[in-house]
Symmetry: C2
């Protein structure tokens, strides 16, 4: 098969785009896709300082790499989640990525935060599923670090597969509020929220893996050990079956949702802006935010030195 652009030997075939590319043309194609999303969805410009959430996986590192190549101003944010070997390796690969390219990276080891917030600790102390605990903690630190360092934009590596799986989950339960909000650009409705953007929302997992490989990016290949059996993976699997039979299904599903589906929900759901958490001052949908409630639970379960009088 030949490259659709230069007629050299193609290395990658994208069925849903009906195209094939050699290595240099694919790298250009991928970066243009990122740039197009950033422009078209008005995510940010070259004047903005963008905080890139970098997990150490293929998507976030491919995104960061492409943004730099495109000339955007970036700083990385990595959370050390404290999920055993998986997190050690993730932190190491993210830090090496930044070091080798001379990029600014903020690293927050969660185990050293508050009462000790490694995800495994939080999950067991609060009897929550690890993915639920992780979501709450991550969201809090993404917002907080962005606010503390004055970043108005936070970019994450969510790809087409992530967005399609999330959409399928929201649709199977018809969660109108979530459907009203699912978007590649989430505008802040609180002074401590950054604008959250997903420049890879039209790019498949496969496409970002190919890009990371071609660019020689050393990323964490393993899935998070907590995600085994997660519903999200089942949704991805089911969507992959549909995609195999009907190439383009995922892209149509997400794109048409944004174009024709979502407006119906966006109208129905006039979003209530969050209040401010009485404890941490971050946005909250109650007096105290879900993160602070989580921390209180972890704190409560900590072993304490018992005084002799008791």
């Amino acid at each position: 098969m030949k490259c659709t652009r230069c007629r050299e030997r193609a290395e990658v075939h994208l069925r849903q785009h009906n195209s094939a590319f050699c290595r240099p043309c694919y790298v250009g194609f991928f970066q243009r896709q990122v740039e197009r999303a950033v422009h078209k969805e008005r995510m940010f410009t070259k004047d903005d300082e963008v905080l890139v959430a970098a997990s150490g996986g293929k998507d976030s590192l491919a995104l960061w790499d492409a943004l730099i190549a495109l000339g955007y101003r970036t700083t990385g944010l990595h959370l050390g989640l404290g999920i055993g070997e998986y997190s050690i390796s993730s932190t190491e690969k993210t830090q090496r990525f930044a070091r080798e390219r001379n990029l600014r990276l903020i690293t927050v080891p969660l185990a050293e935060e508050g009462p000790g917030l490694a995800i495994s600790t939080v999950a067991s102390a609060t009897n929550r599923k690890p993915c639920a605990a992780c979501g709450t903690v991550k969201r809090h630190y993404f917002d907080r670090i962005a606010a503390e360092h004055g970043f108005a934009i936070l970019a994450t590596g969510h790809n087409l597969d992530d967005e399609a799986a999330r959409l399928l989950g929201n649709v199977l339960h018809w969660q109108r509020e979530h459907l009203g909000k699912q978007s590649p650009v989430l505008q802040p409705n609180h002074e401590k929220f950054a604008r959250k953007v997903k420049p890879l929302f039209r790019i498949s997992e496969y496409e970002s893996a190919v890009y990371a490989f071609m660019r020689g990016i050393d990323y964490v290949v393993d899935e998070c050990p907590n995600s085994i059996g997660a519903t999200q993976l089942l949704y991805k699997d089911v969507l992959n079956r549909l995609e195999a039979a009907m190439p383009g299904t995922k892209l149509t599903f997400v794109q048409e949702f944004l174009r024709t589906g979502q407006p119906a929900f966006a109208i129905a759901e006039a979003a209530t802006p969050p209040q401010t958490c009485a404890r941490c001052g971050m946005p909250s949908f109650g007096d105290v935010c879900s993160f602070c409630r989580l921390v209180a639970e972890v704190d409560h379960k900590r072993p304490r030195v018992v005084s002799a009088g008791n």
Copy 2:
């Protein structure tokens, strides 16, 4: 496992209802489910004459059987589709079902209609996919026979799996107009439309197969030969995988759609009522309805006696 109702030995286990039933209790359960749908969705009452579309498959015959047991007034309508052995067997089983129970049945052999409308003829003459041709022809005859015989209500055997698969297809492409209309009760917006109702919309394929088996109904087991590879079957397959991992998924998907999802689309889509077809007088979304256009194509392709002068 014991019957949830009478504690006898259970013969069927329904995971999504978290129940098990012996044979008599299951038959009662199934019929109550049908009655509940009919009542709750205000489909019809015991004063109405209901035309039941009977294909000869498990769903339509189970539906007809349950409606009779519940004391509703019914007449069957069977279309002889002309899809080889499959249709011969379907017609035979439907007619025997009616004869043995002394029920009124209207049978329309499509091969004897107009220029000859056996589905295989129509599909090849018009270069349409058989399922598309079949849909157009079926809808026309359902409406027409109901109108000609003065039935205000037409009941079909669409089950939960059918509704969930159709919903998934509509959602994957975000077809707002279809989403706005997909409902267990479709009110007529033309004098020649009957009210179309689907009393089995909350009952799974499996549940209706079990009912048909327990009631000794002899139905066509084979799928229509044209449906092999049909998208609808892929959707059903994918939904079965989700259901296996998360029992109740299909029911939630369809129910929550009707409760919270659809209102968003119903508002957006102010349904335009159909005009009247200039040829057949049935409802139409153009001067001439899609059925009459189909017939014209079939007619055009018919072999004709060529005059000697040509």
